[in-house]
Amino acid sequence: MLESLKRTRVNTQVQTHHHGHDVGERLYLHRHSIVHETASYLKVIAAITFILVAVSTPITNWQAFIGYFIWVLTVAAIAKIPFTLLFKRALIEIPFIFFAILMPFFGSGERFVAGPFNLYREGLLAGAGIVVKGTLGVLTAIILSTSTTAREILRGLERLRLPALMVQIASFMLRYVNVVNDEMERMKVARDSRGFEATGIKHWKVIATAAGALFIRSYERGERVHLSMLSRGYEGVLPHDEVEKSKASDWLMVLIYPLVALVILLITTLIGN
């Protein structure tokens, strides 16, 4: 009789991802590394200055870019980010690269022949610049977002005096993206349960109506959240942590990221001349 209580196990692949179902934090990869532990606002500063250095390097100084790539990959290794993950996430830039690849075919000025193609020198340099500098920027952003929770990045931005309103909007988005996502999922399940299958353009109306309903619901939720905030004395300011001063050594540590790039730039420029 108890036979019926036997449990049949299903072989499932265990999700290795740290926050599998959390839409807001799915970029974050939990590791213990010096990059993970650095204060988020310092990381944001480091990322931006590094990108500034990279962007202001002339594309003709190609040795510098080789140095930059080696350095970025080194930092990714220090942050214990698997290279496969890094490259997979870097694929996000493909739509942008697509236009850069077209650039050598259009333009004006000096032309040259490469294989079957008749290319513009100017366009090739500009396109290559976009691809190379864009990739550096994307890789830097990936290291930042993989080693820092979205929540921490927001705190960092707040610390860097980004207008409070923008930080608030972004943090609400982070909080409610999961709620809205679940709601959307439930609506989809309810649709599918009644035999709906989106196969073609004639079903767009259903999808659009659902999107509209979701919008209204979210809007109304926004009003309810606002009510509950007012009920607890909200006056336009969200609580934030007391600011902790960073030590000079922290600054030095984090500035190494752009500084190494700067040194590479200087050395390659000097050698180049």
């Binding site: 959390d22 409610y176 509950s228 607890r232 969200l238 609580p239």
Partner: protein, 247 residues
């Protein structure tokens, strides 16, 4: 007799579209009382609650919290009132908007000017009251519905309110969470108004019940008397669950 925690006199209210929801509500609740606010859907229960802390400005009549008039135009007094009236909304996701449980509980007291260690102590105390202290650093999204409801209660308790208003506290809870919440609510030494359709829950927790229907209070008495008055319940679209009886 001390000042009542909540005193509502001749409160009437119509929505901007002309739809009148309240037609002269009179209700007085003493300190320490636990009162169930019953009534069918659309009776004006939520509208009444929204008047208790000035979210809806009082158009006609008056609402007093511990003797202080709720006046939506007086910003300073409104802030005091909102500290005194703690509303726990029906959907905890509406109430828990901060990234972590601890930060959410800190939201109210922070707005009241609390900082540093004092704030930490308040947060810890409020979470202890609902047995959720160990979840302080967790995002609300990772909690179960029952846990979120308890945290929602804590966010309000952290403001040390004079009166706790709960909108459908037992809705969507599994039986164990429902009982756990009842234990927590019973352990709190606070004036309480509970809006609910869950009559056994009202019977369990509140010694007094009022029925709101058509925008006025149509019955006010001991929960026992009201729930055993079949004719009264029937007239107000209230029903005890099948098989449930009160001696």
């Amino acid at each position: 007799m001390s000042t009542p925690s909540l005193e509502i006199k001749e409160l009437a209210f119509a929505y901007p579209d002309g739809n009148q929801a309240l037609f002269g509500v009179n209700l007085s609740i003493n300190k320490g009382e636990r009162v169930a606010l019953l009534g069918p859907n659309g009776a004006g229960k939520t509208t009444l609650v929204m008047h208790m802390n000035g979210i809806h400005p009082t158009a006609q009549g008056s609402v007093r919290i511990a003797g202080e008039l709720v006046d939506a135009k007086n910003k300073d007094s409104l802030k005091q009132i909102r500290a005194k009236v703690g509303i726990v909304f029906q959907d905890p996701d509406d109430q828990l908007f901060m990234p972590t449980v601890g930060e959410d509980v800190a939201f109210g007291p922070y707005n009241m000017g609390k900082r540093g260690e004092e704030l930490d102590a308040i947060v810890k105390n409020a979470l202890d009251l609902v047995g959720m202290a160990e979840f302080k650093d967790r995002p609300p999204h990772h909690l179960s519905f029952g846990q979120r409801r308890r945290v929602a209660v804590a966010t309000v308790l952290a403001m040390k309110p004079e009166i706790l208003v709960l909108d459908e506290p037992s809705s969507n809870l599994d039986p164990a969470s429902r009982r756990e919440l009842a234990d927590i609510l019973r352990s709190l030494d606070i004036t309480m108004v509970m809006v609910t359709h869950d009559l056994p829950y009202a019977n369990e927790l509140c010694e007094r019940a009022v029925i709101l229907k058509g925008g006025i209070i149509v019955a006010d008495g001991s929960t026992h008397n009201i729930l055993t008055n079949k004719a009264l319940l029937e007239a107000n679209r209230l029903e005890l669950p099948v098989g449930f009886s009160i001696q």
